[in-house]
Amino acid sequence: MSTLLTRVRQKQIGQMIDAGKRLDGRTLTDYREFTIEEGLIERAEGSARIRLGKTDVLVGVKIETGEPFPDTPNDGVLTVNAELVPLASASFEPGPPDENSIELARIVDRGIRESKAVSSDKLVIESGKKVFVVFVDVYVLNHDGNLIDASALAAVAALTNAKMPNYEIEDGEVKTKTGYSPLPMKSHPITVTIAKINDKLVVDPQIEEEQVLDARISMAVNDEGNICAIQKGCAGSFTPQQIIEASKIAQEKAAEIRKKLDW
């Protein structure tokens, strides 16, 4: 996902990071300022838009009824999909999801699923036959780096303000009634991404930093401060010591974000 970056610029980023500084004046462990706007899409059951630096991601949640998976008759269904919309970056092209958008969707999915953020047992209408299906659609509107954290945060925010239609069963048919109840949530996972640049760990990489990074690691932290999902990405490596250090940073940053959002 690269837009071109001159060698001079690449070198500059590396040298600054060696000196503990960054292009936008942050320290290596500073997270960018972000704002989350909730419920802006009235047609969707839940929605949230995050602006993390200039990264802009909109998440819409649609809730429909459908069949459960045969192996989990007593759980609702949650699916996450991500679209790298072409208007968000010169490097995004129209077409079916590529591996970058599939990876993004699966990282967001894993954070929500493994932390059991949504109480899926409360989404059952009739065991084995009818359940609520929750579609989480991540829509990237502007790419300025760290789509993973932005998407994960916006997805949880959108689920938090999502409303479930009330229903009643009439002659074996599910009829929706007027009114809504909130989507049952158990946890609010927060995903923190850390890049390795020049052998240094850098929190929340912006877009130019993403183009010089050797590797990145994303960790989802649940309400208890435990880690519930990890994904290392890009063609570089970490030492085991760096991973432990990254996990400590991720927990600190997640706690910071949690406090700010009051989750």
Binding site: I102, I217, I227, K232, C234, T239, P240, S247
Partner: protein, 249 residues
Amino acid sequence: MSEKPEKLIDKKGIRLDGRKADELRPLKIEVGVLPNADGSAYIEHGKNKILVGVFGPREMHPKHLSQSDRMVIRCRYHMAPFSVQERKSPAPSRREVELSKVIRESLEPSVFVDLYPRSGIDVFIEVLQADGGTRCASITAASLAIADAGIPLRDLVVACAAGKIDDTVVLDLYDAEDKLGVADVPVAYMPNLNAVTLLQMDGVLTPKEFENAMNMAIDGCKKIYPIQKEALRAKYMAAREELKEEVEE
């Protein structure tokens, strides 16, 4: 899953398949098994049976994907329809697309890609039978197949998972433990460079448990590494024997 056993690990620390907590499944690795591929390897890791073929370095198709200063690595992880309990559609699933990506990224740090500008290699991974931990076994075999193709490497990449079942952190989860367990942490590692090239996790672990699991997985990698190297050596020993016989004739 039909019924969940009450315990995945008993009081004596013995798992459902009879292993101890830090015990690997039996491994069998062979190098140079596909005549048409430039490099190949076959691995049996427990009931996993995985075949890897490498083609290249060769000209990239389509050409615009080639890079002027380096070789491009492409990787396809694919599961055979008959490899799992319920037939899997042969079309690539989202899981397979993601795994292809993370496997490729786990192998890339080991390859001297700048030695082969404008060219590419294709790594084709076919899971013939799956029993949990296929991505790790795939990486162990794929690294060997790349070495078998004669491509210079910084180190072999070897992979192994650790995880948590019931309350215990254990090595190398098999299918049932993966599905019913608490967490799974696959790790790929280059032992000579002390570099982790793949790390994923799903499930909930405390920071301490995570550290234990990662270290246990790395220890598992270190145990597989000599078996992996021996498989590569065995192929060349066999070739040498053949050559000797020819000379004697």
